[in-house]
Amino acid sequence: MGFTELKKVVIVTESVIKDKVLDHIISIGAKGYTIDTVCGKGERGIRDYDTLLGEFLRNIKIEVLTTKEIAEKIMTSVVEKFLKNYAGIVYMHDVEVLRPEKFKS
């Protein structure tokens, strides 16, 4: 088993658009994702979900391991499609994996 280089894309955005974002990244070609609920602060102020408001002030963090091409496509399209109107950031970096076929179509 050798190590293969892939990209990890991270998206932090509003919980209310969770399903739309997940459908979107799968449609672009991601084979999976890992997701968690987080809090944060950015241009749009503090987003801290510990209230009755449920999803409203909650952030999600989505991590996707995928190829460089799909990673770049995810980044640009997520900014275009979602981050104009919704709070969020997106970034990526290199990672090394075993079993690269798990992450490719």
Partner: protein
């Protein structure tokens, strides 16, 4: 009936409202107090199921026929408040369509906490109401949210000159509004209460009844904490929303009184209808609006709902509507 002033004082000094105030004070005093979020959510679930069950048992008693006209009226009120609100906010206060629809939807929709508070009020005042009235919540709430969203989408599509997307997502808007947690629980509890009736639900009602007022206090403590956190957003609310709130909330209440009295409800039933009409939503509506109207900022409506509308209704509003409902009942 005691004087209006005494009724207001009694409302202000009732445990539920005092717990709400305690929550606000906790935030101001920088206390680390919080109701853990899963527990806060569950308190709300409990209250909605309890209200639903009680109403369902009530309907089983008096027959489903008498619910028809009140349900229509609730739909009308939800639609009318949101529709008028949209026009006022867009044309008089110059909001863009997305925010006009968003705010109008919040004000047309119903606050579950206000509904619980008015039920506690009525129980204290010991006046009769048709037991199914709380079950009108979903009708008014859903209609208002859908109206606000649809009007906003129409307004936006007019601006950018296209309505393809609007058509496509209208069904989604309606589905989401109808299947929303609050509406679903109240309807579900209602159905179960209706089907099982007083006899069938006998074993479970002690739980829901004994705990109702106590759970309400903790729920309002939680809402107070949320309201307290919104205080720092208050300056972002802006004069126009404050004016809209102060003028329209009592008018919405009066709409409710007029409609309730005209369709022949008791004073208690009319009062609940008025409180629902006057209330503005803040728990479920913000997330619904944020998802449906990406360019809207529900923070404004939310802050106003929880810092102005709720405290007003829970203190002076409800006794006022009660007072007016008594008068209207005599006139008509």
């Amino acid at each position: 009936m005691p004087g209006l002033f005494d009724m207001i004082i009694a409302s202000v000094l009732s445990p539920p409202l005092m717990f709400f105030v305690l929550g606000i004070i906790a935030v101001i005093a920088k206390s680390d107090l919080k109701i853990p979020d899963q527990v806060g959510t569950s308190l709300g679930i409990f209250l909605l199921v309890a209200i639903g069950l009680r109403s369902g048992v009530g309907i089983a008693d008096i027959g489903i026929g008498s619910v028809f006209l009140p349900a229509l009226s609730a739909i009308f009120l939800g639609f009318f408040i949101a529709f008028a609100g949209y026009l006022i906010l867009k044309n008089i206060f110059k909001f863009d369509p997305a925010n006009a629809g968003c705010i109008a939807g919040h004000f047309g929709a119903v606050s579950a906490a206000t509904l619980a508070v008015v039920l506690a009020y009525i129980d204290r005042a010991d006046i009769y109401f048709e037991p199914f009235i709380p079950a009108l919540y979903p009708f008014m709430d859903t209609t208002a949210l859908i109206t606000g969203i649809v009007l906003a989408k129409i307004g936006m599509s007019k601006q950018i000159g296209s309505n393809t997307q609007t058509e496509a997502s209208l069904r989604q808007v309606i589905t989401e509004a109808v299947s929303g947690k609050g509406v679903f629980l109240l309807f579900g509890g209602l159905l179960i209460g209706y089907i099982t009736g007083a006899e069938g639900s006998k074993k479970i009602m002690p739980f829901y009844d004994t705990m109702f007022y106590g759970i309400l206090t903790l729920f309002l403590l939680d809402i107070g904490l949320m309201a307290g956190k919104r205080l720092r957003e208050f300056k972002a609310v802006g004069a126009s929303i404050i004016v809209y709130t102060v003028v329209m909330v009592p008018i919405h209440g009066i709409f409710g009184i007029v409609v309730g009295t005209l369709i022949g409800l008791s004073v208690g039933g009319t009062l609940i209808l008025a409180a629902m009409a006057a209330s503005a939503s803040y728990i479920s509506a913000p997330a619904v609006m944020r998802a449906a109207l990406p360019t809207s900022n529900p923070s404004i409506a939310l802050t106003s709902s929880v810092l102005l509308v709720f405290p007003f209704n829970a203190s002076a509003g409800i006794p006022m509507y009660h007072y007016l409902a008594e008068i209207f009942a005599k006139i008509i």
